[in-house]
């Protein structure tokens, strides 16, 4: 047995190789599962990051009076609002988002925004629709969301006057010599003029001339003011070469604020209304005494729907006592009559058939913002605007763009989780 050789070494090696490959196989199998889980977790985290990006960008858009300021440096592919930003106070390890804002200029964009026609240039939004693309990243995962953000085009961009009659008729009645209609931009609290707010006309009318009415509604309004009353209407000059910034030289026709614009505006605004009321002829409309709607920090949209009355006698909303409000007051298909002490900060819109707005005196009445009285019927002999007593109407950019109103009129639509490469 002296020359016998053992087989121990090869045997041991073979056993070790077999065992370790078995172990490796098991370990790799076990290591694979956490990887899949990790992937899923990262994907979910990335989507949350993208959603956070949409929210953050919406907040910026809702608080910006004109989106053109954000789009100023945009190219065709848009402008980056946020880049690699972490979610709130969480660290970047929990996911980051990048958000690109783009104006809708491509032929296919109506399928995203639902708005036609698309805008002409990447830097100028005219149709109140933009597109946000948010990309969330966490670990190795990426998720992309796309939404359309829409807003009712701002009244600020189109309002031609403190008191606007864009509809068919503009029959007005002014009583006494204590009323004020002022197209110069005022601060919302009435403390003085607002240097950043460009003046508009005192009164504007539709540029469409009614047949058989020389001078159109402009002549109708001008004729309703007595020589003593004319200097109570002030604002931007219709003819800049004339010295007068009052009377007939600040009563002008306008083609930008149209009945269609008013209709689209209130259609959108009433969806966002905080208070929606219905007013019926059978019960003589609604009457509110000592009412308070909205505050400077939380303005409200109040929408009153009346019933069309061909006799034009129906007052859909009557406000008396000591009342005040901040926001948008909309009355459709019926008159708005105001008496007592009243103040409103923001736009007042009266629209529909056989409508009008009347300041009936009996107190101090002040509106900072603007009034639109949009008659869609044709009703000679019935007033669209009545001002008596010391009613004061002052144009105010600040009141028209109160942050809360902007936010309410801005909405996210058409949420889509984009597939890779889409």
């Amino acid at each position: 047995m002296r020359n016998e050789r053992g087989m121990i070494l090869p045997l041991t090696l073979i056993v070790m190789v077999v065992l370790s490959s078995l172990t490796l196989a098991l370990v790799s199998l076990a290591a694979f599962e956490p990887l899949i889980s990790r992937n899923l977790a990262d994907g979910t985290q990335a989507r949350f990051a993208a959603e956070a990006g949409i929210e953050a960008a919406f907040d910026v858009l809702a608080g910006t009076p004109s989106w053109n300021t954000l789009l100023a440096s945009a190219s065709g592919s848009g402008v980056t609002l946020f880049s690699g930003r972490p979610i709130g106070t969480l660290g970047a390890g929990r996911g980051v988002y990048t958000v690109v804002l783009r104006n809708d200029t491509l032929p296919g964009d109506p399928a995203i925004t639902g708005v036609t026609p698309v805008d002409a240039t990447p830097t100028a939004d005219a149709n109140g629709a933009v597109i946000l693309t948010a990309t969330g990243q966490a670990g190795g995962a990426t998720r992309t969301l796309r939404v359309a953000v829409k807003r009712v085009p701002s009244l600020l961009d189109v309002l031609p006057a403190a008191l606007a009659f864009p509809g068919n008729d503009a029959q007005t009645w002014f009583s006494g010599n204590a009323f004020t209609i002022d197209g110069k931009g005022w601060k919302m609290d009435g403390s003085g003029l607002d240097a950043g707010c460009a003046s508009v006309f005192g009164i504007s009318v539709s540029s469409v001339l009614p047949t058989g009415s020389p001078g159109g509604n402009e002549a109708v309004v001008e004729a309703s003011l007595s020589p003593q009353q004319r200097d109570n209407v002030t604002g931007k000059k219709q003819d800049p070469t004339l010295p007068q910034d009052y009377g007939s030289n600040t009563i002008a026709p306008n083609a930008v604020l149209t009945p269609e614009f008013v209709k689209n505006y209130i259609d959108a605004a009433k969806q966002a209304a905080d208070i929606t009321l219905e007013s019926f002829q059978a019960t003589n409309g609604l009457t509110f005494t000592n009412v308070r709607w909205g505050t400077p920090t939380a303005p409200q949209i109040v929408y009153v729907k009346g019933e069309a009355d061909p006799t034009s006698r129906f007052t859909a909303l009557q406000i008396s006592g000591n009342s005040e409000g901040y926001g948008i007051l909309i009355v459709e298909d019926g008159d708005l009559k105001i008496s007592g002490n009243f103040s409103w900060h923001g736009p007042i819109i009266v629209t529909g058939q056989w409508v009008g707005v009347g300041f009936m005196g009996g107190g101090n009445q002040a509106v900072y913002g603007a009034i639109i009285s949009n008659e869609t019927a044709t009703d000679p002999g019935f007033y669209e605007g009545v001002m008596t007593g010391n009613a004061t109407l002052r144009y105010s950019c600040e009141a028209l763009q109160q942050a809360g109103i902007l936010r309410k009129l801005t909405s996210v639509a058409n949420w889509k989780d984009l597939a890779p490469g889409e």
Binding site: L40, P110, A111, T113, A148, Q271, S411, N414, W415
Partner: protein, 195 residues
């Protein structure tokens, strides 16, 4: 051969018995370990399938009701069609033409505007042409339970398609690898495209 020691028969038998015992114990342990690994694999498998199925449906539910030409709160169509407890049909209008188009051919990569999920046997299937269901793919197998609960804007159960704002999806996946094991998962999804 002088001085060479040897084993007696008794010694050999005792040695073999001891070795046998040790080997038996090791074998048992190995078997136990293998069974555990297999059970774990089965469990992970079921979990993975349930997660995938849920993720697939949740992603699609969240974006359902895509309707660019609508004027909210009025919509051109319902995001969820006739809510049913064991099947789900979703609608969208991706091309923005105002209607939910029927898909022309069975192309899984094309964005289908009408999609349905249902359980056939133990297969969760996704169809892009309900109710005919000729274009149907299997999402995952081994599904032993699938249920949908529909909630309205106030969080109350509803059976009206137009009122649906939230869908609660519950999936149970059973794996037979290493013994029957079930994993149940549920998620609650808000329809992002409905106010």
């Amino acid at each position: 051969m002088k001085g060479q020691g040897g084993f007696t028969l008794v010694e050999l038998l005792v040695g073999l018995a001891v070795a046998g015992l040790v080997l038996a114990a090791a074998g048992l342990m190995l078997q136990l370990g293998l069974a555990t690994v297999q059970a774990g694999t089965g469990q992970a498998d079921a979990q993975q399938n349930a997660r995938w199925a849920l993720e697939r449906m949740v992603r699609e539910i969240r974006g359902a009701g895509y309707d660019p030409t609508a004027k909210p709160p009025a919509y051109n169509f319902d995001a969820v069609v006739s809510p049913a407890p064991t099947s789900l049909t979703l609608q969208s209008d991706f091309d923005g033409n105002g209607v939910v188009d029927a898909q022309g051919a069975c192309d899984p990569s094309a964005p289908a505007e009408r999609v349905a999920y249902r359980l056939v046997g133990t297969q969760l299937r996704r169809s892009t042409d309900p109710p005919a269901n000729t274009c149907e793919d299997v999402v995952v197998g081994g599904v032993s339970g699938l249920s949908f609960t529909y909630l309205d804007a106030d969080g109350n159960p509803t059976a009206v398609g137009q009122a649906v704002r939230t869908v609660v999806v519950a999936v149970t996946v059973t794996s037979t690898v290493g013994g029957a094991r079930s994993v149940a998962m549920a998620d609650r999804v808000r329809l992002r495209n409905r106010l």
